[in-house]
Symmetry: D2
Subunit: 286 residues, 4 copies
């Protein structure tokens, strides 16, 4: 599992002929070895999407010149594009309320090296998770939030986020709704876990809703946060069987097992630059 | 798989002490051997539910006297109750439109002996499935239905249903909405398959809705039909993974595999008297 | 989730008529309310199995007299039987090597109250998990084990187990094989997690074996430990999809998610007295 | 679902730089539009695998010249390669014994247009499926096979296969073992469905083996047939939950649902040229 030094090009543009040829020619000309390549065409909008990752071991352009070297191709095809390097680590801030199963899963995966990023900050509206944060050695800040002080609380949150330089915010069962301003500031940088199979059971107490409805499966959904509550682009979902024997408490317990796995998966896909957002949907280059 | 001759008691009543003792005493007194016994308490409404099946091989009460022999116990506990016998075969009418995968699955399972009932009639608003019906030797009646003639068409359907004596109606991807009168007449006797993970994507074109929403799983739901469209008690559900690569046509194909299995399962649960309906939910005694 | 005080009767005996009647009569006579009742007949050996749980709130026999009050019925039917009370907590010892994901899951579930038992001891052949044990406040003992000192090491383990009074031993990815004497001493009291879909890939490095074979699903199996390596009665299993893209390291990561969930499930089934062992198989009264 | 006219290049070769660049350059030079592109590197053997499909609508090389136009690139990289065209239909022969669920599924999918090939022949050692074959209009030949006449029977089978020109043989629960000569003649052209989660439960009566073992999941495996019984490269697998309540007959019924879906999936992957075989494993370019 030793990580190779790689470059990851993520792009979208109008689907015309010759894109793959030009990109692969660029990489091979400078002695890059393509490790992974995924592409997708959206036929409805005639859009081309690609993720291509290549080994930098023998690549003849130094890292700090790769973006400018690629720029002419990007310009020619009018691409939306980013190049990431495996050596650049993302900085994660985790927001949590009282339930700590998702938080623990993320912290443990980080300790194991599965989450290849820095976890720079935990923000909570409660003190409960402080011992866990301290055990894993991550700064922990309590910012109490209520309807009354929401604006001030978010101002305090922004400050904390800027100080720690977070570029990914993970809502690990954080039970507060973020303001539209907050969401706009971190477009496609906030990942939430909602404890239902969206679009079923939007909003509060989805397990109660599921129990009332009498569904035979409950689900969980990880998605990017947008201004519309629980309506952002879905990244990952999973379900588990339930029966009439399961009480609401049983649903909560069964759901926890899913939530922590599905949220972790979504975070890892984001960190590996495997996600495109297009028309409120995701393209997942697994 | 040779079927034993059995009696199946299905009941619900207020949850008081002594119910199980009395029922099991009744069965053992007359030398019945209990084969399966399931019970459930709804703690919110203090209701007791039971399904108990016993072997009639050595049972000392003849079949036609069992119901009256049990009646005093039922009266004592104010039960809603039914006793079924494995020797009584249900009569099924299948309604179908153009898509025939669910119909074929049901006909084939019937031929195999998995569906232990008589399929007495197929009703369709199209001619398409006639050869299949003929191959399996089931009467096939076309009743064209439109907004204009809905009432007459349903009158014709009632007539066909009464003539064939159907006591279970299976909507095997039947694309017409039944009138409230129709539904009332066959309360908990009409099973539908809806091609979404309800309550998500109610109504028309659920795969299109799922595609638009960008979900990562599609589902299917079999339920009893009530006056509220796609809102009846859910019997069985299942899901399958999808990705951004799947077109709407792919969703339709993947969905078919689920639909025929889930509908068949629901029909079999009904035929084995394993379903209780309580407060628009099902108790499934698997 | 407040726990009711309940009694749980677990029994097996020859399948003759009247068993259920007699047991349910016993419970209702003394004003017990049956909460859960499950039964199973093994037709090949004509054996009857039952788990019945009743509320003790109004039960007229005091807890310390219940077993002797039931004894005549047990004797009459020549039952193998146990009565457990929800107020009696099991004592768990966890054995672990270097990988700590299963250990962490068990400790966290215990802290959450999901595992309703005492975790009285962690035994390891390595120091690695000591900080985690201390964080959760569980005694941690290192007993180094090698081919050379196996007998002494087990003697030391017995001593530790007797001192802490453990009645369930969980092998949470413990990479040492226990001696037949050890296993005999704790018959049906040792639960292991094997990282394959048994009976496929018995023994060492199952993910390597799975990779070599090119399977499209990997699995995990929790089972009681017997003298035959990886051959004990299976309690729970689950699988996850893999593809040719997954390296052995990917299999290990995907497997971890399964292992911790499946092992936890098996432990909870054992603690809730929902498991019968019969002819090297389990009956799981979920 | 109207099929575009496409070309599909399937190749493997030593993994050196520039392969993708050269292939994509070839396609774009002649105005082909790449629709799907998948690649994989086997790091252990340094082998590169690719499947690339492009639209022929505007492609400037006529179909009958494409292979020779591509040949120089194939030679340069010492590729194992094939080019298929969506207009070329495969010819399928299905072998079946008494159980007809897999046969029916394949025939129905073919009628629906999901299986885009010709089903040119059904061969059976029993008469049972003749009416079904006739209903779907496929030639049906009975070739009785026993230990005594195996060689003659296979000679007769070869004759039938050559006459119908089959290039894919699907064993749809065909209960006879093919001779090594037969298998060699149709290398990677025979697809079998084995009713277990291989490598568990090789050989006869796998559901009986699974029942004896007490597994909690049963599976099914579709694979290419090789000289080693049930050991060929696995194409697709799936599983379903079972419990102690399931009899062997229940396992058989639950298994059927899986078998027909998994076999169909494997056949479709083969027909879409999405399968590479490498070191007794498959690479599946889904």
């Amino acid at each position: 599992m030793k990580k190779r030094e790689t470059a990851i090009l993520l792009l979208s543009c109008e689907d015309v002929k010759g894109i793959v040829a030009e990109i692969s020619h660029f990489i091979s000309t400078y002695d890059g070895n393509i490790l992974y390549s995924n592409q997708h065409q959206d036929v409805h909008t005639n859009t081309f999407f690609m993720r291509i990752e290549w080994d930098l071991a023998k690549f003849q352009i130094p890292i700090d010149k790769i973006r400018s070297a690629f720029e002419p191709i990007a310009t020619k095809f009018k691409m939306n594009w980013q190049i990431h390097f495996s050596t650049e680590k993302a900085k994660i801030a985790i927001f949590v309320s009282k339930l700590d199963h998702c938080l623990l899963e993320l912290l443990w995966r980080h300790k194991e090296g599965e989450i290849d990023a820095e976890i720079v900050q935990i923000v909570s509206n409660h003190e409960d998770s402080r011992p866990m944060a301290e055990f894993f050695g991550v700064p922990f800040t309590v910012i109490k939030k209520s309807q009354a002080n929401k604006q001030e609380a978010e101002a305090r949150e922004f400050e904390v986020l800027e100080n720690c330089g977070a570029d990914l915010i993970v809502l690990a069962r954080y039970m507060q709704i973020l303001s539209p301003e907050f969401v706009k500031k971190y477009r496609n940088q906030i990942i939430n876990i909602h404890h239902s199979f969206l679009p079923a059971f939007v909003g509060a107490k989805p397990y109660h809703q599921a129990f009332e409805k009498g569904v035979k499966l409950i689900g969980t959904t990880s998605h990017y946060v947008t201004e519309d509550l629980d309506q952002g682009p879905i990244i990952a979902q999973d379900v588990v069987n339930i029966t009439h024997k399961d009480s609401i408490e049983d649903l909560v317990l069964k759901g926890k097992n899913l939530e922590k796995i599905v949220l972790s998966k979504a975070v890892q896909l984001h960190l590996e630059h495997k996600l495109h957002v297009h028309k409120n949907k995701t393209i997942v280059f697994e």
